[in-house]
Symmetry: C2
Subunit: 210 residues, 2 copies
């Protein structure tokens, strides 16, 4: 299976070859896009970091997804319902490509190489997204704040192939990502340190268990 389709080089090579896309630059805290009505938008984050955020009726903020370089996002992945306000917020300066899923899927008339390669690799790209979402679901189904934290840390540790890693979030944002109260999470973090599970220096976590 072509799990290692190299989206990075692919995008570098072809990002200027197709007419049917828009490339835009955003600065920190700008709204990249909103998921309000169905327009089959599919986006690729070329550079920077961004979060997909939802504000619910109780005023809670949830970071639904965190995007870094080469992430795929857009309202095409969502069934839009009215009681949702989904925003993609730039967490740093960002460069984003905007496509219409229809255009990608049906290819543009020019039959440009970008489209050809993209549509060939689209199943794999979307499949990668599915595995990401499944990891997120695994985190969210953990029953306690402690397990969510440990689960998330273990995931980052696996990705970095190291027991020591930087958090990609502020602690405030981490709480919104794990869907827990910030102060309760801070309390639990303290307990994890006291119980010798982790060490935390600034934004860097080191796992001490196992």
């Amino acid at each position: 299976m072509n799990t290692n389709f190299d989206i990075e080089n692919f995008i570098l090579d072809f990002s200027n070859s197709c007419q049917k896309k828009q490339k835009k630059v955003f600065s920190k805290n700008e709204v990249v896009t909103t998921y309000i009505k169905n327009r089959n938008q599919l986006c690729i984050l070329l550079d920077g970091n961004a979060d997909l955020v939802r504000y619910d009726l109780n005023g809670n903020r949830t970071i639904v997804e965190h995007f870094s370089k080469n992430a795929l996002f857009g309202e095409v992945f969502y069934t839009i319902t009215t009681n949702n306000e989904l925003l993609v917020e730039a967490k740093s300066n960002c460069t984003v490509l905007f496509y219409s899923y229809d255009d990608i899927f049906h290819k543009c008339r020019n039959n440009c190489k970008f489209h050809q390669t993209l549509s060939e690799n689209l199943p794999q790209l979307i499949l990668n997204k599915v595995t990401d979402l499944n990891m997120r679901i695994e985190l969210l189904t953990k029953r306690s704040t402690r397990d969510k934290l440990l689960g998330y840390f273990s995931l980052l540790s696996t990705r970095k192939l190291s027991t020591s890693f930087e958090l990609p979030f502020s602690l405030t944002d981490l709480a919104d990502y794990l869907s827990v109260d910030r102060s309760a999470m801070m309390r639990e973090l303290k307990l994890l340190k006291e119980d010798g599970f982790i060490e935390k220096i600034g934004n860097r976590i080191t796992l001490l268990y196992k």
Copy 2:
């Protein structure tokens, strides 16, 4: 966009035309498959109901996904990690098609019509799965048991286009699906009835609000 690709008729027409699949029948409570090692398995549930279930180290059971007719599932959607035991359990008698994702993606030598149609429609099928998973994430990020219940009910109500609907789960399973304690959920269900949000007769829920 081809959102309405009719997987049902498609499968009926072509399910016997390709050599590279296995069709198996399961009876209630049998294990359909386990997600243990990577073998790029992709399955289609032709008939019946099944749950993807995880048992964690604390003995908690989580229903990760609930599958009904024509659902796509399989370990190809997961990044397998060792601290996971994922099982697909038949909740009723089931008929399941088993594929290798590689075979689907690269097409079989026969170039059978099934494969051709399937691989053409694969992005759409996987995309549907992404939107399902996103709905699940939305549910799981709700902060309280009450909001999870109301969110799930509203989802079922939208699907059935009616304020009244049958639960596809036993209450025990519903708790495992919403990732909450069963007795706490029962308590909340009672409160929802008392507060006039819902009516519950047997397995049928009616929404009374709005």
